[in-house]
Symmetry: C2
Subunit: 261 residues, 2 copies
């Protein structure tokens, strides 16, 4: 299904910064021929995943996506579960909280609650999180089957900041550490001023299906704050996992026993 792959990859070129893309631009971005891209774009538009601006002729994400999202939310209301907890978490920690779910082998941000303070971490909407460079990613990998860990570590591990950990050996150690402590930590690894603390969300099978994370400016982070945030994040993770009908792994339960109290 390589053509479907190629077509769906086009969707990932849309970001909040680049929300409208023309035919030629998309051909350049994706590296495919203009004619090929045109066929793929019109096909995606026919199904409502994209729509074309009637005058500019540019393409953007379409209304069909909203339909599918509403349908999914009606069947599996994760937003209804996640968002209130995130709001509470952000209020408790006074820092920005976000949640992400595992989709395929990608970690997708599906909820955010920004802190109300004047300086705070801001999350780009719809961001796909790199496993190796984020607390969320480590938290998920620490509670995922080896197959996923190996898949991720076999892939590219791009550098985002001077502190990004791109070494496979190091990453394996940090994932093992996460298995022991339950939580995932990434300081300055994705954005140079951000310290993040994450706890895994679990599906019914006891494997991680996502993570909930608090991201704080590095200037405010210290051991005391870390402890408070960790406890709050763990509580939030248990609450969301319960709300989604998931089953926390035994190792996570025991590792965080004293924290969640």
């Amino acid at each position: 299904m390589r053509t479907v792959d190629k077509a769906l990859k086009l969707l990932d070129w849309f970001t909040d910064k680049r929300s409208e893309i023309g035919l030629s631009e998309m051909a350049r971005l994706s590296g495919h021929d203009k004619a090929t891209v045109h066929r793929m774009l019109t096909t995606l538009a026919r199904h409502g995943l994209l729509e074309q601006h009637s005058t500019l002729k540019t393409y953007r994400l379409g209304a069909g996506i909203l339909r599918l999202a509403r349908l999914r939310e009606a069947c599996f209301p994760v937003g209804a579960v996640v968002n209130p907890v995130l709001e509470q978490l952000a209020a408790d920690t006074r820092e920005t909280a976000h949640a992400s779910l595992l989709a395929g082998a990608q970690l997708m941000t599906i909820g955010t609650a920004e802190a109300t303070r004047s300086t705070r971490v801001s999350i780009e909407p719809g961001l796909i999180l790199p496993f190796h460079a984020t607390a969320s990613g480590i938290a998920v990998l620490g509670h995922s089957p080896d197959s996923l860990v190996n898949t991720v570590l076999a892939g590219p591990l791009p550098r985002f900041t001077a502190d990004t950990d791109c070494d496979i050996g190091n990453l394996r150690k940090r994932i093992a550490e996460c298995r022991r402590t339950g939580i995932g930590i990434s300081d300055l690894g994705y954005e140079s001023d951000v310290c993040s603390t994450a706890a895994p969300l679990f599906g019914p099978d006891g494997w991680a299906c996502g993570a909930v994370t608090v991201a704080a400016p590095a200037s405010r982070m210290n051991a005391d704050v870390r402890r408070q945030i960790t406890a709050a994040v763990v509580r939030a993770a248990f609450e969301i996992t319960r709300g989604l009908g998931g089953e926390p792994a035994a190792s996570f339960k025991s590792a965080t026993e004293r924290l969640a109290a």
Copy 2:
């Protein structure tokens, strides 16, 4: 792009009633070979549009859809515009209100606000509305280019109730009528107990990009109620169109001048 088409059509088999679909069932529904369907399902899952239940092996709509929806909402916040107006509309009319957007040549429900009364019309989440049988569809066609009208009338016009209007000549008359009055009406045409009143939403190009509709139980409908609902729906349509940065067609403005007051 027939393969992409086929793959994306699989998404439309998911409804709130049938939210999890197995491989064989999907092969039966779609009429394709099991091997083909398997390849398409795994491809869709790889991109997060679907996800597979780890034990049941069934497929459901995936978290990637939520990501895309959040991204679209961040760039073009239609939900933020539509939902408050729908809530107000439902409160004003004491009946269920819903909004839909044109995506490709399909009309997709992207917002609902149910009435609070004990008997009320309930809207199936993520429903794709048939143009010929719904007030929303007529309202959109009445303010769309002939090309769309012809496309729709050339397609299948399935019967939903005894009162469904499936005659092309009749439908053309009703579309012309809608062009004159501005609003779309469909009584008992889609569900046998529901009377709907719709007004078009406009894009920046002056063509309809969707509709806002109030659906009431037939038992409560009469000329007086129709007048009140019509006025409220027209007001709501103007408000949403303005909020989306659209430009109402001159014909719609003049036709509804006295109503919107």
